[in-house]
């Protein structure tokens, strides 16, 4: 072996040092080498409507993304809802970073899951300063539509369902602008035709309304039943394919009858009745959020045993009684980190990936192991 000359030795040492530093940075960057997609999987389940909302938006480690989606499959849920924030992908106009979305969608696809993609969260450049990322001026609806089109162009072969916006009947979800069904309908009108023009097979979900009994004139929210009718009155019926429904049970069991004055799981039936009344009986619906919470101190929570019973029954109702409902994606499988609030008691799996009993019981149900 040829020996290095004297002047070459420090240079060689420097190169070795740089290589070691680069290796260290790479290892600390959270990206584990060798997180392969793995073999193509298929969801085994007795109930093809079972789904769950994942929360991978801020999950940066690929192995955690993969493990989360494996656990969805192993639970027997063929459906997930996942959030793809516009601001994360297009932080500057026309510059797209699809890295994270690519990872989530590729792993979900490999696990045999059907992804319902929720789009929202406005980048700074598309809204006035001093507004929250949920604020969007009507003049920028086209920008949102542009992003939706880019998303569909990229993932058309893997994603067939898109939810446009979230809980538009809440001021919070509009950056504290007044919730307005006509305005939301304008967003649908700006976006829906452009998606269908490039991918007519993609199903556009609208609604995803927050279940609320807000009185008329409330500053922060509009009753979801009222808002849906106002959407139809504004012409929204021609600008979505599937109604997205949020079906929280609070402390009511899932067989509590539907009642306009009550927020419970069967409020879903009231939203469905509005669809039928407005001539949309041929369309389907999907529950894209919902479920029960077993926080020991939250006023809307139930006991852990009730949560399990109610959840199993909810999946059963969807399969046995609601032929017009395609999926029930409850909130939520797991958070990337503890919220340290009642929100943690909506999850099926802890942040450290330990399954809660509800996870095992749903798995038993989808495997047909329950009596």
């Amino acid at each position: 072996m040829k020996r290095l000359r004297t002047w070459q030795r420090p240079l060689f040492g420097l190169l070795v040092l740089l290589a070691l530093i680069a290796l260290g940075v790479w290892r600390m960057g959270g990206e584990r080498p060798g997180v392969s997609l793995g073999p193509q999987q298929r969801v085994e389940t007795t109930n093809p409507k079972v789904g769950i909302h994942t929360r991978l938006t801020d999950e940066v480690e690929v192995w955690k993304i993969k493990r989360t989606l494996e656990m969805v499959r192993e639970m027997g849920a063929p459906w997930i809802v996942e959030y793809f924030p516009w601001a994360y992908v297009e932080s500057e106009p026309g510059r797209y970073d699809w890295t994270h979305a690519d990872q989530v969608i590729a792993h979900a696809h490999r696990q045999g899951l059907t992804v319902i993609a929720r789009l929202g969260f406005v980048p700074q450049w598309a809204r006035p300063k001093e507004t929250t990322p949920l604020y969007l001026d009507e003049k920028n609806f086209d920008q949102f539509a542009n992003f939706a089109v880019k998303f569909v162009e990229r993932y058309r072969s893997q994603i067939k369902h898109l939810i446009l916006w979230n809980e538009p009947n809440l001021a919070l979800e509009w950056g504290y602008a007044s919730p307005d069904a006509a305005r939301y309908t304008a967003l649908l009108k700006a976006t829906y035709p452009r998606i269908k023009a490039i991918a007519p097979e993609v199903q556009v979900l609208a609604g995803a309304l927050a279940p609320t009994l807000a009185p008329p004139g409330d500053e922060f929210a509009v009753n979801d039943l009222v808002f849906l009718q106002q959407m139809y009155d504004a012409g929204a019926g021609a600008y979505f394919d599937v109604l997205a429904i949020h079906a929280y049970g609070w402390h009511f069991d899932p067989d509590s009858p539907a009642d306009p004055e009550v927020v419970n799981f069967r409020r879903t039936e009231l939203l469905r009745a509005l669809m039928v009344k407005n001539g949309d009986s041929e369309k389907t619906a999907m529950i894209t959020e919902g479920g029960w919470n077993d926080h020991p101190r939250w006023t809307r929570a139930v006991r852990p045993a009730q949560r399990i019973l109610y959840t199993l029954r909810a999946y059963e109702i969807a399969q046995a009684e609601w032929p017009w409902l395609e999926a029930v994606c409850l909130w939520a499988l797991r958070f990337p980190w503890d919220q340290n609030s009642y929100q943690d008691y909506f999850t099926f799996v802890r942040t450290d990936f330990e399954p809660k009993p509800i996870y095992w019981e749903v798995q038993r149900q989808t495997r047909g192991e329950l009596p």
Partner: protein, 275 residues
């Protein structure tokens, strides 16, 4: 030469102080606490009142009595702590999830509300040492031969279905421990299965339910280590270092004098544990 060293030394010292005082930002209180005034403690002393935030919906720690007055273990604890520095307590009722924001906004001086320690919040708040461990325990009848976790192997163990105890029991099974697991819908049913029906030989139950049962005279004992720790602590503003010191001294005194144990006994025995 000497002047140059003096100048250099001065620059280094000045830079160090600047970094500690301003440059360290949020963490500066950790570096130079003696340079910061504890405005919370000063305000408490000036008004003679310690404004304590709690959510009165979690008996026996905090609840409303028949007259609508906020009472409970935490209220009694706060009063005993304030008495140690000659002060009084003003209770401010706040929803549990809003307590940290209310403290941050300066509307209250502290949270005393069966609040679990949260490591992630140490950048925003100071905490007392734990005054109550609410975590998961193995509980058995006092005459039981079971003395530690390993003794559960091969035995019938009761849990509340879906609870933390249920989760841990399933984890022990996955790790190879043979447990005959029996599920019940409430902690009260779990304890009844242990004592009345003798359907199980041990239970995994939260320490609040266990202490309630013990305080009512039921012959139960916790064995082994805490399986999942949930320590309740008092939460303070980040700069309240003097208040923290006062509270620590007072807590130690209450612990040593047996007052904490008395408060537990008084407030836990009033709650039904086995129906």
């Amino acid at each position: 030469m000497r002047r140059r060293w003096v100048l250099l030394g001065g620059l280094v010292l000045g830079g160090l102080l600047a970094a500690l005082w301003g440059g360290a930002g949020e963490q500066s209180h950790l570096l130079l606490p003696f340079l910061r005034r504890d405005s919370t403690w000063q305000a408490i002393q000036q008004r003679g009142l310690w404004r304590v935030g709690l959510d009165p919906s979690f008996p026996p720690f905090e609840l409303l009595d028949a007259t609508g007055k906020v009472v409970g273990y935490d209220v009694a604890l706060a009063e005993a702590l304030a008495a140690s520095w000659g002060g009084r307590v003003e209770i401010v009722a706040v929803g549990f999830d809003s307590l940290p924001d209310t403290l941050k906004a300066g509307k209250i001086d502290s949270i005393v509300s069966a609040y679990p320690f949260d490591e992630r919040l140490t950048q925003d708040f100071l905490f007392s040492t734990p005054y109550f461990e609410a975590g998961l325990r193995v509980a058995v009848p006092t005459a039981s031969p079971i003395r530690q976790l390993a003794d559960l192997s091969g035995r019938a163990v009761g849990v509340e279905w879906g609870s933390l105890g249920d989760m841990v029991a399933r984890r022990l099974q996955r790790e190879g421990m043979v447990l005959k697991l029996r599920s019940f819908e409430t902690p009260e049913q779990v304890l009844a299965a242990l004592l009345d029906q003798q359907a199980v030989e041990a239970v995994l139950v939260d320490n609040v339910s266990l202490r309630q049962a013990q305080a009512r005279g039921l012959p139960l004992v916790a064995v082994g280590e805490v399986l999942e720790s949930i320590p309740y602590v008092i939460v303070l503003p980040l700069q309240a270092v003097e208040l923290q010191q006062q509270l620590e001294a007072a807590l130690q005194q209450l612990r040593a004098s047996g007052t904490l144990a008395e408060l537990e006994e008084r407030w836990f025995s009033g709650q039904p544990a086995v129906q």
